[in-house]
Amino acid sequence: MNDRMIKEHVETLLKKDRRLDGRKLTEYRKPISVESGFIETAEGSARVIIGDTEVLVGVKMGVETPYPDTPNKGNLMVNAELTPLSSPEFESGPPGIQSIELARVIDRAIRESKFIDSEKLCIEEGEKVWSVMVDISPVNDAGNLFDAGALGAIAALKSARFPGYDGERVDYKKHTDKKLPLRKTPISVTVHKIGDKLIVDPISDEEKSSDARLTVVHREDGKMCALQKGGTMPLSSDDIAKMIDLGIEKGKELAKALE
């Protein structure tokens, strides 16, 4: 629920370049922790903690028929479930629009950056390909699920190992050493505009006060690969340029957490 008094106060502080928790405007919460291989039942997994925000990401793999338009490429599916575990504001039931947007933006970060070399996931053209299913499950939503979720998805993919496969059936009890075929790493940074100030890594009260946001996905070689503008206020070209610069700059910091 939008809270007018909290929004006014967030803006008042930002005018003086201050934030609710004393951080600088372009400072992430500390420490940013990424723990890979956290879940033994998944082929790949990660737990990401940024401040009080905690997200679990699991990668499951299976063998499926490819999509007709990409007969020689593996399938990718990204899903997010904002269940009532992680916030009093989430309700049970089918994924709401918030879950869908979160999953779609992270999906694009992975897909458009060509992070997964999906042709190498082809087993038999037009018949059998590996399918990679990424699930994002927040444990505590204290803000910035976009960046935490994307970071977790990337770390989980990096940690993934193929299960056993004999040409007929997938053997999940068998863990091979074979890693996913991955290329250059994408990084997602979401920049928020509140009043006329730009901030990164909002806590929940800041997120609720946000006028507009821009999720900036770029790859370690510097190429931009995905953008998503959110929020109801418009952005000027100047805003966009600044937000992209900030996204790229902060991305370098986030990438360090993956090492």
Binding site: N2, D3, R4, M5, I6, E8, H9, T12, L13, K16, R18, L20, D21, G22
Partner: protein, 232 residues
């Protein structure tokens, strides 16, 4: 003879045996199970003679008559304002108790209190179904100016306020700020940008260390250090 099993200020969990024998009596948060007095919730043991009670360490606010709370206007109705009380129950602020001014029929009610305003109000009545009525008539009841809103653990509010306001008074003086703490666990802070976080941290510290001895000194020490640092 009865036997006491726990000590004063011990943290106990539901079902824990507190005392044996009929000499001890179960107070708030405790119950008798045959010869034993047992814990009926998680809490802090408080022994007063033969009476054992438990002070809550967690839990949602439950509106009680005469409590001073900080609520948020969430709806403007025909007969008054609906106020969120940070509990399972919202409250009604009826027209007649909203202000000492006369409110004419059909007046635009949002000129008094509009959606999203925070108010300091007093609980006048709570029914068996927990329908809650509030009043704004009386000293110290008013609409809050813009400021920082934080949530605190309702059971810790008496500690945050301190004996006749001593604890919160100490924070106000040290940081030169205004602070209101509602019984319902909503606190409002009006401080300089430099001091605001010092106030928040001091309150968080009281919440965390509420049941240790020498809390006042600990908070004072923290304030002295923090104010000196930020004062530069």
């Amino acid at each position: 003879m009865g036997k006491l099993i726990v000590k004063e200020k011990e943290v106990v969990v539901p079902g824990e045996d507190l005392a044996e024998g009929m000499d001890y009596l179960p107070g708030d948060g405790c119950y008798r199970d045959k010869e034993k007095v047992r814990a009926g919730r998680l809490g802090l043991v408080k022994i007063g003679g033969r009476l054992i009670k438990l002070l809550p360490l967690s839990g949602k606010y439950l509106p009680k008559k005469n409590d001073i709370i900080i609520g948020k206007v969430i709806e403007i109705a025909m007969m008054g304002w609906r106020i969120d009380t940070n509990s399972a129950y919202s409250a009604m602020l009826p027209l007649r108790d909203a202000t000492s001014e006369y409110i004419a029929r059909g007046a635009n009610l949002s000129q008094y209190y509009s959606i999203g305003d925070y108010v300091v109000a007093k609980v006048t009545n709570v029914t068996s179904q927990n329908l809650v009525d509030l009043t704004m008539k009386g000293p110290g009841l008013f609409k809050l100016k813009p400021g920082r809103i934080i949530k605190v653990q309702p059971s810790k509010v008496p500690r945050i306020i301190g004996k006749s306001g001593s604890m919160v008074g100490m924070i106000k003086d040290a940081t030169n700020s205004k602070i209101m703490v509602g019984q319902n666990g909503i606190a409002w802070i009006d401080a300089s940008p430099e001091m605001e976080l010092v106030v928040v941290d001091a309150i968080r510290m009281i919440e965390k260390y509420s049941h240790i001895d020498g809390l006042t000194d600990k908070v004072k020490e923290f304030l002295d250090k923090a104010v000196k640092k930020d004062g530069k």
